[in-house]
Symmetry: C2
Subunit: 356 residues, 2 copies
């Protein structure tokens, strides 16, 4: 494909548990509303979806945080709900209320009728953006591709949007599990095709966001979420053009199930902030890299408090390969960007220090 | 006080890990909107707060589920935000948006000015309701009193209502911990006085709901939530008129911290549905009783599926004293009451079976 050579490979090496000079760091939602330049571009684009679907603007916002901060990765600017949108559910964003679908899935028939979108067709705007970003990055840092997990996608698709109680999707899970399994299987196939297309287009690592896996029971987590993420891990291109493509799984609220997540064969496990990273490392650090796990609200604290919190996590992880620093969830839109700069510099400083 | 003698003491015995003939069961929010008779009484009362503050109507809705189901306990009908309301924050309910405060706490000054409400004065409507309910129960089953935890109360008080990101309260926690500690200490004192007043008025067991403890890190959970619940456990009247008053602590999302919760000296620990009860029993069952832990969404399933799920939990707990069956969170308003009846009968049936 002729992409420029990667200059900073800390992220890839850490995800594969290879030694690095310091701890790599990127931030979930690093391209987002906390940045004034993002808000400016978003205004130009029109709606959030218009921004996702315009490859030049998606590329621009992906690169914006890299111009401010010494980040070790870029992550594709997109939405986790592109697949359901491509399946015809009619994604839209109600002002201040998050994502909604015009056609929520409430019947076995509707689920049976769903096709698996061809990523080279209805999701072409994503792969085009991936290739453009990869080109524009000029080898500065690697580009991460991503998708929502089948379970997490299904919650939005069945509920019709965000949810507190998961009444419809869990009702289906308990009352009509075969129908939900049919949906999840289609979604797993769709995610595999989508992520492989991102890899072919230039993504150098991929991540699956299981934002709502934590609302399940241990048994239903294994059967309705993890099983399909395992299917995805098994179906992904793990090598592309001679490079290993690391896969990260992240279940928010999944701290009780880390061993099972690590057993999927993924390369890295994302952690939210409800677990100490030294405990997570003791439990699964022999098998996978760990990504995380600062509470996003720590960015409301002063510089010294942020630095101390970064140091605590790096010290807890210790002088071992396999740590990618991140927040435990996406950065809030009300955070002062300067505070994020303090965090990123502190990661590199203390990451260097712990390796001495 | 001359209250009628307690006829069904399964709940109290199970909370104290004494043998019972079958597994006792009650349901969080058992007096609530899923019952048509509740919705009728609520209409008569006016607002939700009017209903809480009218002792006759609060008594009526407390007793309603007992007329339908063979429940082993009544729980005071009230709101967790009565204490902040009595502190002068001006509780109100925005239609469809949950609780709100007219005067959220955002400054050290506002927190310093807060007084600790005298439960015999501004919360008298609660203790009056407790005594009336206890009288009306006529010894049929015990009456549970309750309060929100200091941390959970503080989230509403600082945010001004429900929250997703906990920006203000966690911002205060990280940036100005001494001020938040001052608030939490006042709340702990207020909760102790409030629960002791409920015990004196006739509550035979008490429970502390830490609904939002699960959004904290391990360290901040211990420092900002658990520490104050421990203070409460230590400050409660554990004996009243010759009867032991069991104390239950429930942190939703606290499955990773069960050992620390059990170490507070409480009698029982509430579980949400993200942990298997056999695992919880293996971890802390030598010290405390366990309450839980069916996913509330299971009540959308058919009768046989509900029965199988009840049997699974009772079988996992095994033939040991110390289990109080409950949901892992409050019953949803859209549940068919008949399904709850199936659950309750199944608990008693399988609870008997496991003891054979």
């Amino acid at each position: 494909m002729g992409f420029p050579t990667l200059k900073n490979d800390r992220l890839i090496r850490a995800l594969l548990r290879q030694p690095t000079d310091t701890t790599p760091v990127w931030i979930m939602r690093q391209a987002g509303r906390y940045l004034p330049e993002y808000r400016e571009t978003r205004k130009q684009a029109g709606s959030f979806l218009d921004l996702c679907k315009n490859k030049e603007l998606a590329c621009e916002v992906t690169l914006q945080p890299l111009r401010r901060f010494a980040l070790d990765a870029a992550i594709l600017f997109s939405d986790i709900l592109t697949i359901p949108d491509a399946m015809g559910l009619g994604l839209y964003f109600a002002e201040g209320e998050g994502p909604r679908f015009e056609h929520p899935l409430r019947s076995a028939d509707a689920i049976q009728r769903l096709g698996i979108p061809d990523p080279h067709d209805s999701l072409r705007y994503v792969t085009d953006a991936v290739s453009l970003i990869r080109q524009e990055l000029d080898g500065q840092v690697p580009l991460i591709g991503f998708s929502g997990s089948p379970w997490t996608l299904s919650t939005y698709m069945v509920e019709g949007g965000s949810s507190k109680e998961y009444r419809f999707v869990k009702g289906m899970m308990y009352d009509n599990p075969a129908v939900l399994h049919q949906l999840l299987d289609k979604l797993a196939q769709a995610v595999i095709a989508y992520l492989n297309a991102q890899i072919e287009a230039g993504a150098q690592a991929v991540m699956v966001f299981d934002t709502w896996g934590g609302v399940l029971t241990p048994q239903t987590y294994r059967d309705f979420s993890l099983r399909y993420m395992q299917q995805i891990v098994a179906g992904l291109k793990r090598e592309h053009e001679g490079q290993t493509i690391p896969v990260t799984l992240f279940t928010k609220g999944g701290g009780q199930w880390l061993e099972a997540i690590a057993d999927t064969g993924c390369d890295a496990v994302g952690l939210d902030w409800t677990i100490d990273i030294d405990e997570a490392r003791a439990r699964i650090g022999d098998r996978v890299a760990l990504q995380g796990n600062l509470d996003p609200c720590m960015l409301y604290a002063d510089h010294e408090t942020i630095r101390a919190a970064v140091k605590d996590i790096i010290t807890r992880f210790g002088n071992h390969p396999g740590h990618v620093f991140n927040l435990g969830h996406g950065i809030h839109q009300t955070v002062d960007p300067e505070h994020l700069g303090v965090l990123i510099d502190a990661v590199h400083e203390f990451g260097l220090e712990i390796r001495r």
